[in-house]
């Protein structure tokens, strides 16, 4: 038995990927759950408007981080800010008693905010926008679409590609008179279509079963999902180019998937995380898709409010997908690649 145990440890030491999982994973999980996993929100970005703005700002509980105080702004301005996600709460003193608009799309923030306002009794009227009953599913379903796309794009795609390499058929494709572009597009397009189909199914089921509202433009959403798909498919292709076996690909994909699930803000609010960890979250594509999906579904936001996540995702898509195609192409047409390089030299 001693020999068995010794052998197992020696083998594990040599298997870098498994070692990485054994060491990195607990650290990552510990950090995330220790620091980032925070359902209670400590500060809520808040604006105050109307004639009584100054006084309301002074009286607001500490929880509310008062940003702008604008006595001139109107209720319409307040609602526009909320749709654009410019702030989480607006206290509107143009009404009597003042109305507090709370962003129901940010579930935990909204819960904290309404609890705080509740303790103030009749002093404020609370109006929860976008998700009046604070339904968890309303917030989750749009984000879940992103998770499903990530799953298909990263895991399924990389498995499909590595299988081709593992069984030696990738070489066979390379010696067939197929253009590299045909092979690459032919290999990726089915996953793109499958993921798109899944996205439609989840969207319809979400709206139909959970009554999740779809307030924004379906086309804008479709475009966002398409761009996001390019990112995750690209990641899948990249994983496949550095993996020799399907098991390796799955390992790597899980290591990339886990932080996205935890840090994209769809379970734990990004605002409640320490800055450093929230910064990691802001490097992950799913974070931006969640922002887009919740914005379009619940707040009916348009491109003017969502241009930042769109721009970031587009940049990521260009970067990742180009890198993926170039690496894939190198596997398929090494001759052309090398020849081009030697000419350049």
């Amino acid at each position: 038995m001693k020999a068995m145990i010794l052998k197992e440890f020696r083998e594990l030491r040599r298997d870098k990927r498994t070692m990485a999982m054994l060491i990195v994973l607990p650290i990552v999980l510990l950090t995330i759950f220790g620091y980032a996993a925070n359902f209670t929100v400590d500060t809520i970005p808040t604006r105050v408007i109307g004639p009584g703005a100054e006084q309301a700002a002074a009286n607001a509980p500490e929880l509310f981080d008062i940003g702008e105080v604008d006595a001139e702004a109107t209720t319409d301005d307040a609602l526009a800010w909320m749709t654009d996600n410019a702030t989480e709460v607006v206290i509107d003193t143009t009404t009597q008693p003042p109305t507090a608009y709370v962003d129901g799309a940010s579930l935990f923030t909204a819960q904290s905010a309404s609890a705080a306002f509740g303790r103030m009794g009749d002093q404020v009227e609370v109006d929860i926008l976008f998700n009046p009953d604070l339904e968890t599913s309303w917030v989750m379903v749009p984000a879940l679409i992103g998770l499903i796309l990530t799953f298909i794009g990263t895991i399924i795609t990389s498995i499909g590609l590595v299988k081709e390499r593992q069984s030696g058929t990738l070489e066979q494709l390379a010696v067939m008179p197929l253009k590299p572009a045909d092979v690459i597009i032919g290999k990726i397009a089915p996953y793109f279509l499958l993921a798109s189909f899944d996205m439609l199914v989840v969207t319809f089921l979400g709206v139909w079963i959970f009554d999740v509202p779809f307030n924004g433009s379906p086309w804008l959403f479709a475009i966002g999902a398409g761009i996001f798909l390019f990112v995750v498919l690209g990641i899948g292709v990249l994983i496949s180019t550095v993996s020799q076996t399907q098991a390796q690909a799955i390992q790597l994909a899980i290591m990339l998937l886990l932080p996205q699930i935890l840090l994209s803000g769809f379970i734990f609010p990004l605002d409640a995380m320490p800055t450093a960890i929230a910064a990691i979250g802001r490097c992950l594509p799913l974070t931006y898709f969640v922002e887009i999906a919740q914005g379009i579904f619940l707040r009916g936001a348009g491109l003017d409010a969502l241009w930042v996540p769109y721009a970031v995702l587009t940049g990521m898509a260009l970067l990742v997908f180009t890198a993926a195609v170039l690496r894939f192409r190198r596997d398929l047409a090494p001759s052309a690649h090398h020849r081009a390089k030697s000419k350049a030299a």
Partner: protein, 268 residues
């Protein structure tokens, strides 16, 4: 000297007979080659001899499990361990230690040409070296019966010769050896050959007896005959005929033709 082996062995797997009434004996100091294509039943026969599969019918006579050395098809080495660590693990499993281990380890490493690669990870060895290491592991406890499943498949000729030398040496030191192979030039080097086809014994005996044992005879020709009975050897043809050969003529030129002829005769 006791002979090991199987008698009237039938193994059914998934309702299908993987082996049907197969008899094979191997005496100490003897090398028996089990020949056949993929799916002929070689691995099933070897695994039954190694005690890994229970026979449906028939008898198996083998030494106690700890006196058997088994080398599976996909080289039984641990790829993430170094050559030395592989040996250390198997030695510990068999309770071999001290001077005995040192002596055997040195002899096996020298025979395998791995003396200068002891620190190398098994996954970084060439296919041939890995097979030689696997053989060394199967041999480490000096088994009475050595069972080798296609040790030479995918191995280059130089390593193959080393392997054969190691196998021959093991036999010359008294081990009974059963080895599966798909190649007949290897079978010709064994003391006896058992040719399996779809789970049945097609031909059996010393290479010379196998040549004499086929039905009918084979002639060399410049033009093809009945396509079902004709095959090529280089630019010439061989044609099998069910009739007895003319007086004084051999039945067949070599074991390759013998096996092809026997397979055609069986199907005819």
């Amino acid at each position: 000297m006791a002979a090991w082996g199987a008698h009237g062995l039938t193994v059914e797997r998934g309702g299908r007979a993987a082996l049907a009434n197969v008899t094979l004996t191997v005496a100490p100091g003897e090398i028996v080659a089990v020949v056949g294509g993929d799916g002929a039943g070689k691995t099933t026969l070897l695994r039954t001899l190694a005690g890994a599969i229970a026979p449906t019918a028939g008898e198996v006579a083998t030494p106690a499990l700890e006196r058997i050395g088994f080398m599976p098809t996909a080289a039984g080495v641990w790829r993430d361990l170094s050559v030395d660590e592989n040996i250390a693990f198997v030695a510990a499993a068999h309770g071999i230690a001290g001077a005995t281990l040192e002596e055997r380890r040195a002899a096996l490493l020298a025979g395998a040409g791995l003396e200068h690669a002891t620190e190398r990870l098994a996954r970084n060895l060439s296919g041939g070296m890995r097979q030689k290491l696997a053989f060394s592991l199967a041999m480490l406890h000096r088994p009475d019966l050595l069972i080798l499943d296609e040790p030479s498949t995918g191995v280059d000729p130089v390593s193959r010769v080393d392997l054969w030398r190691m196998v021959s040496l093991a036999a010359s030191q008294g081990a009974a050896v059963v080895m599966a192979t798909t190649y007949l030039d290897e079978a010709e080097r064994a003391h006896r050959v058992t040719v399996l086809d779809a789970g049945e014994v097609l031909l059996e005996g010393a290479p010379a007896d196998v040549l004499a044992g086929i039905p009918g005879h084979v002639v060399a020709a410049d033009a093809p005959g009945d396509p079902a009975r004709t095959w090529r050897r280089g630019r010439g043809y061989r044609i099998w005929s069910p009739e007895e050969p003319p007086e004084g003529e051999p039945r067949v030129a070599d074991i390759e033709d013998a096996v092809v002829a026997a397979a055609i005769a069986k199907g005819a």
